[in-house]
């Protein structure tokens, strides 16, 4: 039985036992996969719980469902590890009400770039085949290759599904709620050894930090963003950018009188239009960089194939190091919501950090 079939059986059992009343999981479309919400046992077969493509971040879907009011029904959500970390992070920002939600997460084989998938379809089973052997497919996205947390982690979500280095998938609890759920399902918790597999990801990540870092200040950043359309799609797809309306789309601030354009052109020996392109990306880093989860959807969303995750992932990582904060991994308060009286002295005073 494939992993997907097994998960579907799991859902049906849960429906039958009355443990859940709804499921949110991916479902196939003609060229891709969407998220789907079902409320009936019969509809389970329409789902593909482990999809080879992540078109949206599942936590973003949960945000839509529970932002105004807690989930009315007992909802099982199937989320990738990055999505469940997003879920945890968004709970901290009051965007998701975790009540009545059970999150199941699994050892993630990675996903394929949505556009690549459209033209060269593949199956989840192919990707899963690699990780069962402790490997990784070459087709997956850059962000997936350098994923820091490719496995479910305790207290992030409720139920984990181990797939690495094992032919028989194993369930394990991530939270008390999950433990009870598995017990009610009559499922024995199991183990699998994924440490080496995770370590490889992290090693790749370290190398990636060094190799792909944007260097050279203005020139580096301009070259990196040279093909940017200023479409703000990276922001639209970013699950952490939960604002209703982005500050950088405020026309009252970013529309200017003509004199201003000409003055700029005078002062700066010519300007590029539209303006404020780099400011948008820097501003987004400042606003949400400390909470960048690393799902890489910004990069997938870019119509010009700018490897944006190199910008957000690498700078975000530096920011998170400053505050010793790992978004969505534990219950620490996000840096933007907190402060300490005795910290960050290297940023004070003349010529900070150099002394």
């Amino acid at each position: 039985m494939s992993e997907n079939d097994m998960l579907k059986k799991f859902m049906k059992d849960a429906f039958e036992k009355g443990l859940i009343e709804a499921v949110m999981a991916p479902a196939a479309t003609k060229d891709s996969y969407t998220y789907a919400l079902i409320t009936k046992k019969e509809d389970v077969d329409k789902l593909t719980p482990i999809a080879p493509v992540m078109q949206w971040n599942g936590a973003d879907m949960l945000r839509r469902i529970t932002r105004l009011k807690k989930s009315e029904r007992k909802l099982l959500a199937i989320l990738r590890p990055c999505e469940s970390r997003t879920y945890k992070e968004l709970v901290k920002f009051n965007q998701i009400n975790p009540e009545n939600i059970i999150v199941l997460s699994y050892d993630c084989p990675g996903t394929i770039h949505a556009r690549t998938f459209k033209y060269e379809p593949t199956t989840a089973e192919e990707l899963l085949g690699e990780i069962k052997k402790g490997g990784k497919s070459n087709k997956i996205r850059e962000a997936c290759k350098v994923c820091e947390y490719p496995t479910p982690i305790p207290n992030v979500g409720d139920i984990g599904l181990g797939l690495v280095n094992t032919d028989e998938p194993v369930f394990f609890a991530l939270s008390e709620k999950g433990r009870k759920f598995l017990a009610d399902m009559g499922i024995q918790e199991g183990t699998r050894d994924a440490d080496a597999w995770v370590e490889e990801h992290r090693k790749r990540r370290e190398e990636w930090y060094e190799k792909e870092r944007i260097r050279g200040g203005r020139k580096g950043l301009e070259d990196f963003l040279s093909s940017c359309l200023n479409c703000h799609n990276c922001k639209n797809m970013c699950p952490i950018c939960f604002c209703k309306e982005c500050f950088f789309e405020d026309r009252t601030v970013f529309d200017y009188e003509s004199s201003k354009f000409f003055n700029w052109a005078d002062d700066k020996d010519g300007i590029r239009l539209p303006t404020d392109k780099a400011l948008f990306h820097i501003g987004r880093l400042i606003h949400m960089g400390t909470s960048c989860i690393g799902c890489g959807l910004c990069q997938q969303a870019c119509p010009m194939d700018i490897p944006l995750y190199r910008l957000f992932g690498i700078v975000g990582n530096e920011l998170q190091k400053v505050f010793n904060y790992k978004p969505g991994v534990n219950d620490d308060i996000p840096p933007v919501m907190d402060f300490r009286e005795d910290e960050l002295h290297e940023f004070e005073g003349l010529f900070g950090g150099e002394e």
Partner: protein, 148 residues
């Protein structure tokens, strides 16, 4: 351009309760400091959105200073701690992208420290003068030295 010596423009965001008062005192005491400093009075160091500092650099400032109250002395109890976090974010972003983070400065100057205010302004202006112009202001433009 044939300027003999580079004269930077430095935008200062100064807390109403301390650094602005120190600037007042420097003025009352006639302590001269370079005219390169452009002071802006804000209510608290935590009023200053990091985007404002970035914007100042982009609009043509060669550096920015944020002046707040000494830790523990904030008039809004904890504003300066929050400001320090914001500065840490701005500086880290700049550094990570290969910009010069020293062009953003956070200083604690209390209301009675008029001479300290003048000293910091002098030292920082000299420091930036020696560094030369910031290329951040040419971001998204055709100007600057490196672009042909």
């Amino acid at each position: 351009m044939s300027e003999k010596k580079f004269e930077p423009v430095i935008v200062g965001f100064f807390c109403n309760w301390c650094t602005s008062a120190a600037a007042d005192l420097a003025g009352t005491s006639r302590l001269h400091y370079p005219p390169n400093i452009r002071p802006i009075r804000v209510m608290c160091s935590s009023t200053v959105d990091p985007v404002y500092m970035i914007r100042a650099l982009q609009e043509g400032a060669d550096a920015t200073i944020l002046g707040g109250c000494h830790p523990g002395d904030c008039h809004y109890i904890t504003g300066n701690y929050k400001a320090r976090r914001r500065i840490a974010i701005v500086k880290t972003v700049l550094r990570s992208l290969g910009f010069d983070e020293d062009r953003v400065l956070l200083e604690w100057i209390s209301g009675s420290e008029g001479p300290k205010f003048a000293r910091v302004m002098n030292e920082y202006t000299e420091y930036i003068r020696n560094k030369g112009p910031s290329d951040f202001k040419y971001l998204d433009s055709l100007g600057g030295e490196e672009i042909e």
